[in-house]
């Protein structure tokens, strides 16, 4: 695998989930000694090599001044856990938008020490995502399953996929019993409160 096959389009500018995800932080290191930097409410000084946590959206714009590092959920150690048994890992606890953030970390605007680490990280994500999707599909089609126990382990993208699979199961049952075409209450709350 090489990075040319990854879709690095900027994503939907107006997508709220993408905006929320880009607020999550990644560790960076200052390239220079910088004084009186207006990062937070008071001016700060950063020595060369000092570790700073920046939100993704800011880290992408500051490549001239910082080098980037992988967050711990995307380091080799965590990746090896994910590779071994992806179905049991509680991704939501580590990073609620795990796969979306992982894809974002392959951005050309980020400067990691070794581009091969990015390739390895993406390969692990791809394999983990495929295995977890199969597992999620099995959970969605199983009867008498505690849905909340499944959902609590999923990242936000997987939760959407899981609820779509369950909705499709329900639609299929309705079709089998001839109950398609029933008018349903809109999910938007229009009733007077």
């Amino acid at each position: 695998m090489d990075l040319s096959m990854v879709d690095r389009s900027p994503g939907n500018y107006l997508d709220l989930e993408d905006i929320v995800m880009s607020d999550s932080k990644i560790p960076c290191r200052s390239r220079f000694h910088l004084k009186n930097i207006d990062l937070h409410s008071v001016p700060e000084e950063f020595d060369e090599g000092k570790k700073i946590e920046l939100p993704l959206w800011l880290a992408e714009s500051m490549t001239e001044f910082v080098r980037h590092e992988f967050p711990k959920e995307y380091t080799t150690r965590f990746q090896s856990i994910l590779r071994a048994d992806p179905e049991i890992v509680n991704l939501h606890r580590h990073e609620p938008k795990y796969f979306a953030k992982g894809l974002k970390l392959s951005s050309e605007k980020l400067d990691f020490p070794d581009p091969r680490d990015t390739v390895i990280m993406l390969e692990t994500l791809l394999e983990a995502a495929s295995r977890r999707m199969l597992w999620i599909a099995m959970q969605a089609s199983a009867s008498k399953i505690n849905q909340s126990k499944v959902e609590c382990k999923l990242d936000d993208g997987e939760k959407v996929h899981y609820s779509q699979l369950i909705a499709q199961q329900e639609e299929y049952k309705e079709w089998k019993t001839g109950r398609t075409g029933i008018i349903k209450e809109s999910k938007d709350r229009f009733k007077s409160i």
Binding site: Y13, D15, H33, F65, R179, K184
Partner: protein, 208 residues
């Protein structure tokens, strides 16, 4: 850090998945004011020749003084903050307009009072204009109501039970009927569909 107000605004809207929260005029003004303040500070800093050279990429960060390097870093930080605020504000407003259009398609031309009070004046104007444009389109298509019957119906009449007191409703044939809570009715689908979507009536599911 700049961009935090904007992030909070977006998080609040993202959390309110199926409803439309009140328009946060205060937060929008504060974000705009923050962007203006950042822009003014940048204008003050971008005045020296060295700064201009750095911005135009004709100088290297290693060749300038530490003070100029720090100033340039702050200029870039503020520029990123301004772009972030702009993105959040545009996304916030566009998402709300999308929600207003959804409300029209799901709930009919009259917005319920509890949702209307959550709209800004501009959004109410937008909703009114969107209604008019949609009505004009539907009139031009032979008076077909696109917002009703969004799935092919199995029958023209449906049996419903009343969840809340609806009061008087006028049917397509001109008759009037009073819908009372917990009563059952057999009515034309076209009249019933918007009321079911609003949660006032519930279709009775027949076992096949």
């Amino acid at each position: 850090m700049s961009g935090e107000l904007a992030a909070e605004l977006i998080r609040d809207l993202a959390r309110a998945k199926d409803s439309l929260p009140a328009y946060d005029d205060t937060a929008v003004r504060e974000i705009v004011d923050e962007s203006i303040a950042l822009s003014n500070k940048n204008r003050e800093d971008i005045s020296s020749t060295a700064m201009n050279q750095l911005i135009q990429d004709s100088a290297d960060l290693n060749d300038v003084t530490p003070k100029e390097r720090s100033t340039y870093t702050n200029v870039c930080l503020r520029a990123a903050g301004i772009e972030r605020n702009k993105r959040c504000l545009i996304a916030y407003h566009m998402k709300r307009l999308e929600k207003i259009r959804e409300i029209r398609w799901q709930g009919g031309p009259v917005i319920p009072d509890h949702l209307r009070s959550n709209l800004s004046a501009s959004e109410r104007t937008y909703s009114h204009k969107y209604n008019r444009a949609l009505a004009k389109l539907m009139r031009g298509s032979g008076d077909l109501d696109f917002t009703q019957i969004q799935t092919p119906p199995k029958s023209l009449y449906v049996e419903v039970t009343c969840v809340e007191d609806v009061g008087d409703v006028e049917l397509e044939n001109g008759d009037r009927i009073t819908l009372e809570k917990n009563s059952r009715y057999f009515l034309p689908r076209a009249n019933v569909e918007p009321l079911v979507r609003q949660g006032l009536l519930k279709e009775i599911q027949r076992q096949v």
